[in-house]
Symmetry: C2
Subunit: 195 residues, 2 copies
């Protein structure tokens, strides 16, 4: 095994960047090749297809997101703290991996079956995770919401928004956004103000 794994990684990174900026459909294999200094057809020495590049990106993204979610949830048994940490993890992922998250949200349509279904299932799992956190909190008397579904959608949507506008060199740091959105989430589910 040579360092060529790094070339494959470079291709994936370039593809991610271009998919983010131009969209999957508008990105050509020639574009991706140019970004790593080779011609379009040469890419096929490293990757199976353009579609495969997208599938890899989306799958990795969902895996990472789910893994981080589980870690965050398992790190506490207090419903309020669990929701805060899950929200922060969600926001941090979307700030730190803006491109993955952005493409992951926007290009589901570009996925061919059966991958689309698989990703949508993973996504539904993730959403259900948040809904459960809210429901548990309500059951434990920590939260008070009109609709657990609505509250969880709202929290998730906040994260997606972050992926759209967050910039590393912007005036808002990842820590600021994560903390603030954690607070937003708790206030939206009617958790009592901070201890």
């Amino acid at each position: 095994m040579t360092v060529s794994g790094s070339r494959t990684e470079g291709i994936r990174a370039a593809a991610l960047d271009l998919f983010t900026r131009l969209g999957y459909g508008a990105t050509t294999m020639a574009d991706i090749g140019a970004a790593v200094g080779i011609r379009g057809p040469s890419l096929y020495k490293h990757v199976a297809s353009k579609q495969d590049l997208l599938v890899q990106i989306m799958t990795d993204t969902m895996d990472n997101l789910l893994a981080l979610h589980r870690v965050a949830v398992d790190s506490s048994s207090d419903p309020t703290e669990r929701l805060r940490r899950a929200t922060e993890a969600h926001v941090r992922y979307h700030a730190r991996h803006r491109q993955e998250a952005f493409v992951g949200n926007r290009e589901i349509r570009s996925l061919a079956e059966p991958h689309r279904t698989k990703i949508l299932t993973r996504r539904a799992e993730y959403e259900a995770g948040f809904r459960d956190l809210v429901t548990e909190g309500v059951a434990a008397g920590c939260f008070s919401v009109a609709s657990a579904r609505l509250a969880s959608y709202a929290i998730l949507d906040l994260g997606m928004g972050v992926a759209a506008w967050f910039r590393d060199d912007g005036e808002l740091t990842e820590d600021t956004v994560a903390w603030q959105y954690g607070e937003f989430a708790l206030s939206m589910v009617g958790a009592p103000p901070r201890s």
Copy 2:
């Protein structure tokens, strides 16, 4: 003027529907034609181009959104009430015109210049409108936020989310979502709990 205006409208509606479901790039003129019962090339008897269809949709959407925003803002002079109404208008538009909002958010990339710039300018105006509402509220002592920018982004992102998941036949009605999101917005900017 014949009833052919209705055909043109039908085409626009079909295009909007298809752009929403498949995306601009993946929608073909033949698809749009089929949706109204004619062949692709026949569309050119009614519309200038595929790109033009998108431009119309995006422009109308931004015009409507800005108009509704102004009405909402002008309907009160109390900062809290202004923000609540603007948020409700935002959410209602995104629930009622899911497709327009969805396409408007997602297909900016598909717009050719100079339309893209024009739409982005309009969009920036709209965002600034919300930021100003938050800033005014803070100045008036009604709100308390860590960052007006962050709070306004959060409110806007909630609306975009609505366009993605709202369904007319879902368990959540437009009224429920609008009211609840208005409350979310106020709680996020630290407005004192309801009167």
